[in-house]
Amino acid sequence: MSSSANDLSASDAPIFELDRCEALPALIGRHEDFLIVAGLAGTARDIAALTENAPHGFTMGGAMGGACMIGLGLALARRDRRVLVVTGDGELLMNVGALATIALMNPPNLSIICVDNGHYGETGYQKSHTSLCTDLEKMASGAGIKLTRTVQRATDIPSGAQFLRAGNGTVFVLLRVNTGEPPVYKRIWDPAVNRAQFRLGLLGK
């Protein structure tokens, strides 16, 4: 499944062709099954639109690089619930060491989707390292996460969706998509409001 991005002419070159607005909801399936932490920018819009700002989602608007570790803290706090982190390639690259920390703890109730469009969409679609040379599935694997997979064709999605929910350990799925825009959705911007809503929904306080 993994591929080298060093030589883009190679037959195993990464494929950035899926539409995130279709592929991500299909990969996640029933979103209510998860407690969801989304990174900032694109993935926050993806998840706010998918869940319609429901209380089982926490979406970021800053603190770039934090989504995976928020997910780890939540997964360790709630071993009875499945936690899903949805982050982007740019956000993950900013704190990629978190993958090593997560691999070390390896909570079986944590799944991570990295929506990889190879670009920094929020700042004007500058190319990120993943469309130039970096393979984040290999980095997750190299960090020590045993259950990793790349989803980059429509035919990869059904098994990817199953893989996301499997788990005797933390799951990492790299979802390669094209540079199409995430959904337009008015999401919760105030993290204190989002925190309060999330805790009220989950804990009743």
Binding site: V37, G62, A63, G66, I70, G73, A77, P191, L202
Partner: protein, 175 residues
């Protein structure tokens, strides 16, 4: 870990017990000689998670996630690690997450390594600038009192607090 701890270290066992009594179950740390007892106690306790970080800002985000799930965490780090946390602390500040950090100080009383002064001296102004209250502890009695006060401020009042264990308390590293 060849640092020499010159002060009595028994107070750190009391700090650990205090944190456990108040329901702290996530101990996030970057290896540090001054926090050895807390780290070892958390690793040995089957009822808590000891989380080794690659960089301190991971611990800031982890603690926010713990709070979303109704759990309590603490970040154990050295003063140089404070510098690695700053932007991530916007999550704590803007989200009004409770946040507790225990910081072993370098770059102050008796420090022999010039590299430690920049961040050591910046800890208080930088943390204050992003909304984290600092409590300083120079003696074992002050350390326990400060952590006890911090626990109330953080888990009852929802504040962000860093307790600074100074080199007067820990002893300066010998070179």
């Amino acid at each position: 870990m060849n640092e020499q701890i010159t002060a009595s270290t028994r107070w750190q066992d009391e700090v650990f017990d205090l944190l456990r009594r108040h329901g702290v179950t996530q101990f996030a740390y970057v290896p540090d000689a001054g926090h050895t007892i807390l780290i070892d106690r958390s690793l040995a306790d089957p009822d808590v998670y000891a989380i080794a970080l690659t960089t301190e800002e991971e611990g800031v985000a982890l603690i926010a996630g713990a709070d979303l799930g109704g759990a309590r965490g603490v970040l154990l780090m050295q003063s140089s690690g404070v510098g690695n946390c700053i932007n991530m602390l916007s999550l704590i500040n803007a989200g009004r997450f409770p946040f507790l950090a225990l910081v072993t100080m370098r770059g102050d009383f008796g420090e022999g390594n010039p590299w430690q002064y920049t961040m050591g001296q910046a800890v208080v102004p930088v943390l204050q600038a992003v909304g984290v209250t600092c409590l300083r502890a120079d003696t074992p009695a002050e350390a326990l009192a400060a952590v006890s006060a911090a626990v109330t401020m953080v888990f009852q009042a929802g504040q962000a607090v860093a307790v600074l264990f100074t080199q007067k308390l820990l002893g300066a590293k010998r070179f």
